[in-house]
C-alpha cells in the first residue's frame, strides 16, 4: 500500500487552514453568537423556568375563571357576587397571556424578576431548591464555556507551533526531513499540542479554572441530589442521606464491637495469667 507523498507545502497549509476554520466554528469565543445559536449560559435556564411559570399561571387562572363562570351562572344577571373577581381574573389572565406572547424579551424580563424574588408560599422550599439548582447549572455551564475557550486557545497555539516547526524544517531542508504524509503531520500536531497544553496545564490560572469547574459540578450535583431526595421522600423511598446515616451507625457499632472484643481478649489473657 502506498501513502501520498508530498514536499509539505500547499496541502499542509490547507490542513492548518482547515483546522483553524473548524476551531472557529466549534469553540472559539464569539462563534456561538455569530452563528445565532443560543448561548449555553444561565439566561436560558431562567427563560425555561419563566415559561413553565407562565404555563402554570395560565392553567391556574383558567381553572378559577371556569369556577367563577359556573358560580355566576347560578345568580341573577348583573348581581354576580364573583363578577369583580372574574374581571380581575380576566385582567390577570390577559397579563399572563401578554407576557407569553410578548416574545423572548418580555419572558426574559419576567424570568429575571422571578429569579430575584424571594421564594414564597406553599411551594417556597421547592422553589428555592429548584432556583439553587438552576443557578448551579448556570454557573457550571459558564465555567465549562471558559474552559472550552482555553482548550480552543491551546489548539490554536498548537497550530501556530506546527507552522513554525514546518518553517524550521523547510529552512533546514538538508538537515531535517520534510513532512511527507498526513500521519507525520498529525504526529507533529500531537507533539505541539502536548507542549502547549503542558505549559497551560501547569499555570495557576488553568489549575484554578479547572478546579472551579470541578467545584461547580460538585455544587450542581448536590443541588440535583437535594431536589431528587425531596421527591424520593414524597414517595417514601429511601434516600442516599438515610443510607449514609445507616452506614455511619454501622461503622460506629463495628468499632465499638472491635473495642469490646479487644477488651474481652485482654481480660481473658489477664485471667489466664
Amino acid at each position: 500500500m502506498t501513502e501520498s507523498k508530498n514536499d509539505g507545502s500547499d496541502w499542509i497549509q490547507a490542513w492548518i487552514q482547515q483546522q483553524r476554520e473548524q476551531l472557529r466554528r466549534a469553540g472559539m469565543p464569539g462563534a456561538d453568537a455569530a452563528s445565532g445559536e443560543k448561548s449555553a449560559g444561565g439566561p436560558d435556564q431562567y427563560r425555561d423556568l419563566g415559561m413553565r411559570w407562565l404555563e402554570a399561571g395560565q392553567a391556574y387562572l383558567q381553572g378559577w375563571q371556569q369556577f367563577a363562570q359556573r358560580s355566576a351562572g347560578g345568580s341573577a344577571a348583573g348581581e354576580t357576587p364573583l363578577k369583580f373577581g372574574e374581571e380581575m381574573l380576566n385582567a390577570w389572565q390577559g397579563t399572563w397571556a401578554g407576557a407569553a406572547s410578548a416574545g423572548e424579551g418580555a419572558t426574559r424580563q419576567f424570568a429575571d424578576l422571578i429569579s430575584r424574588l424571594p421564594a414564597l408560599g406553599l411551594a417556597r422550599e421547592q422553589t428555592e431548591a429548584w432556583r439553587e439548582l438552576l443557578a448551579a447549572q448556570a454557573e457550571y455551564q459558564h465555567l465549562e464555556q471558559e474552559l472550552r475557550t482555553v482548550w480552543a486557545k491551546v489548539q490554536t497555539e498548537a497550530l501556530v507551533m506546527v507552522e513554525a516547526a514546518i518553517r524550521e524544517r523547510r529552512a533546514k531542508q538538508d538537515a531535517m526531513p520534510g513532512i511527507e504524509d498526513y500521519r507525520e503531520l498529525y504526529n507533529l500536531w500531537v507533539e505541539c499540542g502536548e507542549k502547549v497544553f503542558a505549559q497551560v496545564a501547569h499555570s495557576e490560572s488553568y489549575c484554578k479554572l479547572q478546579a472551579q469547574l470541578g467545584n461547580a459540578a460538585i455544587r450542581l450535583k448536590l443541588r440535583q441530589q437535594a431536589v431528587l431526595e425531596r421527591a424520593l421522600k414524597h414517595f417514601d423511598l429511601p434516600t442516599r442521606s438515610e443510607l449514609n446515616t445507616v452506614h455511619k451507625q454501622m461503622r460506629e457499632l463495628r468499632e465499638r464491637v472491635a473495642t469490646l472484643e479487644a477488651q474481652l481478649a485482654a481480660a481473658r489473657g489477664e485471667e489466664r495469667s
Binding site: 507545502s9 496541502w11 501547569h202 478546579a211 467545584n215 441530589q225 461503622r251
Partner: protein, 364 residues
C-alpha cells in the same frame, strides 16, 4: 475551505490515504477476540470485607537453596487493579520474582461500593494491611516479612512501616510519592483548589471513571487520540503480530478497569497527603498515632521511574533523607509509570534488582 484553495486537492488525497489506513485498521480490530489477564497461578488465602490476600504458587523449578526465605507481601494502589503486577506471561513482575525464588503474596483491595464510603485511612493502614501482614507472618512462621508498596500502596506501606517497624525485615517502594509538592507534580497542582470535602459529600465514593478522565487529561492529545491512531496504523503492518494487539487490549482493560475510591479514604488521602503534604512534613497522624518516617529503620529499596508523569521522580527521591534506614538503596528505571511493570527493559531489570536485593538481606 473551497476546493480551489491551494493544496486542497492534495490534502484530500493524503487525508483519504490516512482514513483508508484507519479503516483497514478498524477492520482488523473488529476481528480481535477477548483477552485474558494474569499468568501465574495463585490462591486466595485470606479475606476481610472486600479485601483478598493471594499467595502465588512458588515456582517448582527453583531449587530450595535458591529461594528467598522471607516472603514478600505486595501492597498495590487503590486506584487501579493489582493484576498489573502479573498481566501476562511475558509482562509480569510477579512471575519474574517467582522465577527468582521469591515467595509472593499480593493484596487485592477489591471494588469498594456504596457501603464502603466511610472506609478511612486507618482502615487500610491499621486494619487491612496489618491483618494481611500478620497472616503472612503466621503462615510463614516468621516474625518479620518483606513488604513492597506500589504507588499509593507504597505510601500506605510507608505509614505502616513507620508504625510497625518491628514486623518488617525489608521494605521496597515502587513509584511511590512521598513529597507531593514538587514543581513537576501536575496532579497536586490540579487538586490544590478542589473542594474535596464537597466532592466526597456529593459523590460518596469517587468514581474510577472520573479519575481515569483526570489521568487521561494529563496528556490529552496522546492519550485520547494518538495512541489509538498508532494502533490502527500498526494493525495495517503485516509484521505486527496478533500479540501486539492483544497487549494493547490487555493494557486498555487494565487502564479503564478502575475501582471507585472509598469516599472518606479519598478525602483523607487528597487532603493529608496531596494538599497538606503531611507525610513529608512529619505531621501525619493515622488513628491518632503520629507517622514518623524516621521510625523506618529496616533496609529500604526505593524504585522510581525517570519518565513518570504521574509520580515524578522528584516526588519519590526525598524518601532517602526522610527515612531512618541506614541501609537505603535506590533504583532509577528509565521509563514511565506503567513501563516499569510492562516494558521489556522492566522485565529484565526489576525482578532481578528486587530479588537480588532481598536475597542479600535475607539472612542478615
Amino acid at each position: 475551505m473551497s476546493e480551489s484553495t491551494p493544496g486542497s486537492a492534495e490534502l484530500a488525497a493524503v487525508t483519504n490515504d490516512f482514513m483508508r489506513r484507519m479503516s483497514q485498521g478498524l477492520a482488523a480490530l473488529a476481528n480481535a477476540g477477548d483477552v485474558t489477564i494474569g499468568s501465574s497461578a495463585k490462591d486466595a488465602v485470606f479475606t476481610e470485607d472486600k479485601v483478598t490476600l493471594y499467595r502465588y504458587r512458588p515456582s517448582e523449578v527453583v531449587a530450595p537453596e535458591n529461594r528467598v526465605r522471607t516472603p514478600l507481601l505486595i501492597s498495590y494502589a487503590l486506584v487501579n487493579r493489582p493484576y498489573m503486577m502479573d498481566l501476562q506471561t511475558d509482562r509480569s513482575l510477579i512471575r519474574g520474582l517467582l522465577q527468582r525464588g521469591v515467595d509472593v503474596y499480593l493484596i487485592d483491595w477489591g471494588y469498594p461500593d456504596g457501603a464502603d464510603r466511610y472506609l478511612a485511612l486507618e482502615d487500610y493502614v491499621l486494619r487491612y494491611l496489618p491483618h494481611c501482614v500478620d497472616f503472612v507472618r503466621q503462615a510463614s512462621q516468621q516474625d518479620r516479612i518483606n513488604l513492597l508498596g506500589v504507588c499509593q500502596g507504597g505510601t500506605m506501606t510507608l505509614c505502616y512501616a513507620a508504625l510497625h517497624p518491628q514486623r518488617l525485615r525489608n521494605l521496597i517502594t515502587m513509584v511511590t510519592p512521598v513529597d507531593f509538592h514538587t514543581p513537576e507534580n501536575l496532579l497536586t497542582k490540579w487538586a490544590k483548589h478542589v473542594d474535596v470535602d464537597a466532592l466526597v459529600a456529593a459523590t460518596g465514593n469517587v468514581s474510577g471513571d472520573a479519575l481515569n478522565a483526570l489521568f487521561v487529561s494529563l496528556m490529552p492529545f496522546r492519550l485520547n487520540s494518538q495512541k489509538y491512531v498508532d494502533l490502527l496504523h500498526q494493525l495495517n503492518d503485516p509484521d505486527t503480530s496478533g500479540a501486539a494487539l492483544e497487549n494493547f487490549l490487555r493494557m486498555e482493560k487494565w487502564i479503564f478497569d478502575s475501582p471507585d475510591q472509598a469516599g472518606e479514604m479519598f478525602r483523607q488521602f487528597l487532603t493529608l497527603f496531596v494538599k497538606q503534604n503531611r507525610l513529608k512534613d512529619g505531621t501525619l497522624e493515622v488513628g491518632g498515632r503520629k507517622v514518623d518516617l524516621k521510625q523506618i529503620t529496616m533496609p529500604l529499596l526505593n524504585i522510581y521511574a525517570m519518565q513518570d508523569h504521574l509520580v515524578p521522580p522528584s516526588a519519590s527521591k526525598p524518601l532517602g533523607e526522610l527515612t531512618g534506614s541506614s541501609d537505603y538503596s535506590t533504583h532509577e528505571f528509565q521509563g514511565g509509570h506503567i513501563g516499569i511493570y510492562v516494558s521489556g527493559t522492566a522485565q529484565r531489570q526489576i525482578p532481578d534488582r528486587i530479588a537480588g536485593w532481598l536475597r542479600e538481606r535475607d539472612r542478615s
